[in-house]
Point group: C2
Chain length 352, copies 2
């Protein structure tokens, strides 16, 4: 087991069970709530309960999927916390993917003005992306993560064993965040990742640790996203809009699948505005297409997508703010692109 120390808490990566047991013993919480969905109840909870002795834990189950990451689900969580007379000295354990972690953390942080929570991310995406940075929240009013707050968990526990329970598509979704981390910060890792042909054969642990360390460095330098933390948004301005739109028309598109499309579009913008070479653009586009294929985008949805981008947290005023690549491994924040240019980038992707 490896321990990554952030300023406020530790991330235990690997065979963490003994460390978790110790954590729970030391803290003496009055009650433990475990937040799960129907998948993690089946796949992860039995593993958890076979390792950690739990008496009287309160189980709260919510339906899986981004379409349930909303204020209605929060209300069912808060309501069950009240029904179970959860006090301020309780602990919430979020056992699941990004939705469980983001929404569970938000509900814990706002219940009776805040109870403690720990994250046990069980998907590749949440392990690499949601373990650091303290971003919690839900989707609201057509805008992803528009309601939420910054709050760190008491600890994070990551075990790549949980990944064996995941469908291939979920692994692929998480892999998109890895590609992003490599592209914004480490060309050597990018060189390695782009050669990967078969996601089923990877030993993920080293890659997870790379992402965590890279993200930690960026987030600690700029916790509230005033500047360099925006690097992490590469691929996400257009990606989030694609994801939100898919959510509206109930088309199931995973976060990483949308981000992969966003990475291609924003790499094209990088060529136009940040001197990314054409060769690099092609290399990135090829890598993404090989793994993800293409998301269907209609010309008729452009104006919807632009509205969604303008409502993104990172945007104010005219134009749309992007993080772009000057080359693989190097990124620049605060590049304003016109709506026309954004549309051109979408056309580039559609015509690939």
């Amino acid at each position: 087991m490896k321990i990554i120390r952030t300023r406020d808490y530790k991330i235990f990566v690997g065979d963490f069970w003994e460390a978790l047991d110790e954590f729970l013993k030391v803290a003496k919480y009055s009650k433990i709530i475990i937040l799960i969905d129907e998948n993690t109840r089946r796949q992860c909870l039995p593993i958890f309960l076979s390792k950690i002795k739990m008496e009287n834990a309160v189980l709260i189950e919510i339906p899986s999927g981004e379409m349930h990451k909303n204020i209605e689900t929060c209300q069912t969580i808060w309501r069950q916390m009240i029904e179970n007379q959860i006090g301020r000295n309780a602990l919430m354990i979020n056992l699941g993917g990004g939705v469980i972690g983001d929404m569970g953390g938000f509900c814990a942080s706002t219940f009776k003005r805040g109870i403690n929570f720990i994250q046990i991310p069980t998907t590749l995406l949440s392990q690499v992306d949601a373990s650091i940075g303290g971003k919690l929240g839900i989707d609201f009013g057509r805008v992803k993560n528009s309601v939420g707050l910054f709050k760190n968990p008491k600890a994070v526990f990551i075990n790549s064993d949980f990944l064996n329970t995941l469908p291939k598509r979920e692994i692929r979704s998480g892999f998109a965040e890895m590609i992003k981390h490599a592209l914004i910060a480490d060309v050597a890792v990018w060189e390695e990742l782009k050669k990967i042909e078969e996601l089923g054969k990877i030993n993920w642990l080293q890659h997870i640790i790379f992402c965590l360390k890279s993200k930690k460095q960026i987030v600690e330098a700029d916790p509230f996203e005033k500047n360099d933390r925006k690097k992490l948004n590469f691929g996400h301005t257009i990606g989030h809009a694609i994801e939100s739109l898919a959510l509206e028309i109930k088309h199931t598109l995973l976060h990483g699948e949308a981000i992969a499309a966003g990475v291609v579009c924003e790499s094209w913008l990088s060529m136009k505005k940040a001197d990314l070479s054409k060769a690099s653009l092609i290399e990135i586009s090829d890598c993404i297409l090989k793994i993800y294929g293409k998301v269907e985008i209609e010309e008729s949805s452009f104006s919807n997508l632009l509205t969604l981008m303008k409502n993104d947290k990172k945007n104010e005023g005219t134009g749309i703010n992007f993080t772009l690549l000057s080359k693989p491994g190097e990124s620049l924040v605060n590049n304003i692109c016109s709506e026309d240019l954004v549309i051109e980038s979408l056309r580039y992707y559609m015509n690939l």
Copy 2:
């Protein structure tokens, strides 16, 4: 104008308009939202706009009253923020009483993971009670303030001129918090307050400043209510339950009116468990009854009231946790009282 400095922000008390104008000029917010209700739109907004030049401020109006301090109203606020494309660099000005301040602060602190807000409390209650302590939130699932968080405003602006716009009953409601502040911390102030016969003739400024300084001292010593901050809950454990129950049956009872009843019940508990003299109990009861009369409580609602108390944030485990008085001006936290004793205290109040 007087400035009270807390650790994070300043409270401007008195003729604050110039200071507010300066604050807004220096900060250069991208947009200003003013949260109001139908009362403050009519009574306070014209005063505000006659003093502060505002172009393009976004007005969000919500219905007044504690029954609207809920997640549904939050959703209408967040939705209007999204429709008006509010970015992270915007400022929310909460112009109104406790409901506006608590809910507006909560919505601001959770919108796009947090935008800045300032409080301009316009009722006596919110001026003395909501200006310090960073408690934000809404009522949820029958429990007052069960969803919320701790977050300080960027500044607070208090002007007793706004009090002239208030109905007498609102003034009386705020006065209950003043009585509480005196009883838990300052016998000399209590001696002064208990002599007051006519609330219409008071110069409130000095009393407001006393409460702010007293609360500041308590809160700064214990910001997250681990210990001594619980002193501020005197009168509130039973008072909140009475208030919640009234809310459910749509009986309009103001916060301070419920707290006044709670102060009497909890003074009786203080006599039983914390050596408050019978003479002091009678003095307190007389003072409250003289000003507030009596809230109707039915024997049939006892079990409901107890359930509400047990769901209070301050409670875990068996018994109910109270802050009690050892004498006027001195309070003790963490006194566990049995349900039977609490019922007796309610009977004492009913039989007065």
